[in-house]
């Protein structure tokens, strides 16, 4: 049914991105504004693919320092120990709390990596115009958007560990540069997923102004 689906775009209609009202484009070249809420109308999120790629690639670049650089540095009795994300997982595992180790591993490492790979696959599928499996890709896009915030977990772990463990001169924890890159990965992947207009996953013909 996807080949002949009657979409708003094929009828010269636009669904307002803010309030959902179905409106007709003011002119073929200029979509205009929503008559109800006044938001600017777009047939599709403008520059959706380019923005999504740019943000996704930036996130992938930040993912490397986020995992290599320490997120926390523990100073205890004169000696300082750097702690990376995966090091923190190993610490939790060896201290006996493997459920938490698993949560941190999934939230901090597997979710960001899975998000980057999923975004890449969705963008390639749109570019190639791959048919079939739109529903699965739609579900993937929904999952990517839903789990996105959970990878902020390690940023909060670092923040509250640093805030609490300030027992100078006995022991103190300082944030490392890794936490900044890690926060960047999370924010950039969240923005990349938001930029990707899901309707592009379904579009079968160019969304151009129609004159007929």
């Amino acid at each position: 049914m996807t080949g002949t689906a009657l979409t708003a775009a094929r009828q010269g209609l636009i669904s307002c991105g803010a309030c959902g009202l179905l409106a007709r484009a003011a002119a073929p070249a200029e979509a205009g504004f929503c008559p109800r809420c006044g938001a600017r109308l777009h047939r599709r999120h403008p520059d959706s693919i380019q923005q999504s790629w740019a943000l996704g690639v930036a996130a992938a670049v930040c993912f490397i320092p986020a995992n290599v650089l320490p997120v926390m540095v523990t100073d205890a009795l004169g000696s300082s120990t750097p702690d990376t994300i995966l090091g923190g997982v190993a610490f939790l595992y060896s201290s006996g709390s493997w459920p938490l180790a698993l949560i941190v591993l999934v939230a901090s490492f597997m979710i960001p990596l899975g998000k980057l790979l999923s975004m890449g696959w969705l963008l390639i599928a749109i570019r190639r115009g791959i048919r079939g499996g739109e529903r699965q890709r739609m579900r993937l896009h929904r999952i990517v958007r839903a789990v996105g915030p959970w990878s902020m977990l390690d940023v909060f772990v670092a923040t509250f560990t640093v805030a609490l463990v300030q027992l100078d001169p006995l022991m103190s924890v300082e944030p490392g540069l890794g936490v900044l890159f890690f926060a960047a990965v999370v924010v950039l992947t969240m923005l990349a997923a938001e930029s990707l207009d899901p309707r592009l996953l379904w579009d079968r013909d160019e969304i151009e102004p129609r004159h007929d």
Binding site: T7, A8, L22, C37, F156, V157, L170, P198
Partner: protein, 227 residues
């Protein structure tokens, strides 16, 4: 017979752009797009009073969670405690201003803005017609909700507690329990607050033509769609 919720008939699915006629949806039920599965309508049983009660309760709980210490730590006669904002401030003073700002946005500013906006909105749309500025608040509330992450913060605090528990004794504070209660209230608010219902109550800016060009043309398109 269940009460029905009536909206503008013809809509385009926000997920896949499929044009469809939305049937009357029973209150408390959900309508999904047949093609992509996106939720098109989920009118709650009690769209104003219940979310308003939850939002006010959540705002009070949020205030308590922000003002009281999350947890305190003691080791060899020394002790330290922190609040949510204290965590962000400590990050700032340790040379991480960007991370500190992000933490402050996700734990304090965005949830605070969201609850303020939702309370204002629900009070404003209680008596129809709803003011046209309600739409702007609704849009802002959506952005604020997307960036408020109290549930992730709570899990982060719990992980931090377990990590620290080996080194020193940690006592959970009032703020931690208040945050837990806040999550329950926010979950209730999420299921009872329906932006689509609010949009249907928002007055159109042009009062002399209550049905604007978009709606009349949508009806025209509906005729085409039904062909």
């Amino acid at each position: 017979m269940a009460r029905m919720h009536q909206t503008a008939d013809i809509i385009a699915c926000p997920g896949c752009d499929l044009l469809q006629r939305l049937p009357p949806v029973p209150l408390g039920a959900r309508a999904r797009c047949p093609r992509c599965g996106e939720i098109l309508a989920a009118p709650p049983m009690d769209p104003i009073e219940r979310p308003l009660a939850l939002a006010v309760a959540a705002a009070i709980t949020f205030g308590v969670a922000q003002a009281t210490p999350l947890m305190s730590l003691s080791a060899v006669g020394r002790s330290a405690q922190t609040t949510i904002i204290g965590g962000a401030l400590e990050m700032w003073s340790q040379g991480q201003p960007i991370t500190a700002a992000l933490v402050l946005i996700c734990t304090t500013l965005a949830p605070g803005a969201y609850l303020t906006l939702v309370c204002t909105l629900l009070l404003a749309v209680r008596r129809p017609p709803a003011p046209s500025w309600a739409g702007a608040l609704l849009r802002l509330a959506g952005h604020a909700r997307a960036w408020s992450l109290p549930e992730v913060m709570l899990l982060g605090i719990l992980v931090a507690l377990v990590k620290i528990a080996d080194l020193a004794s940690v006592d959970p504070g009032v703020g931690l329990f208040a945050t837990g209660a806040l999550l329950a209230l926010l979950a209730g608010l999420a299921t009872s607050f329906d932006p689509r219902t609010i949009w249907d109550r928002v007055a159109w800016p042009t009062q002399d033509t209550p049905r604007g060009p978009g709606a009349s043309l949508a009806e025209h398109a509906g005729g085409t769609a039904a062909r």
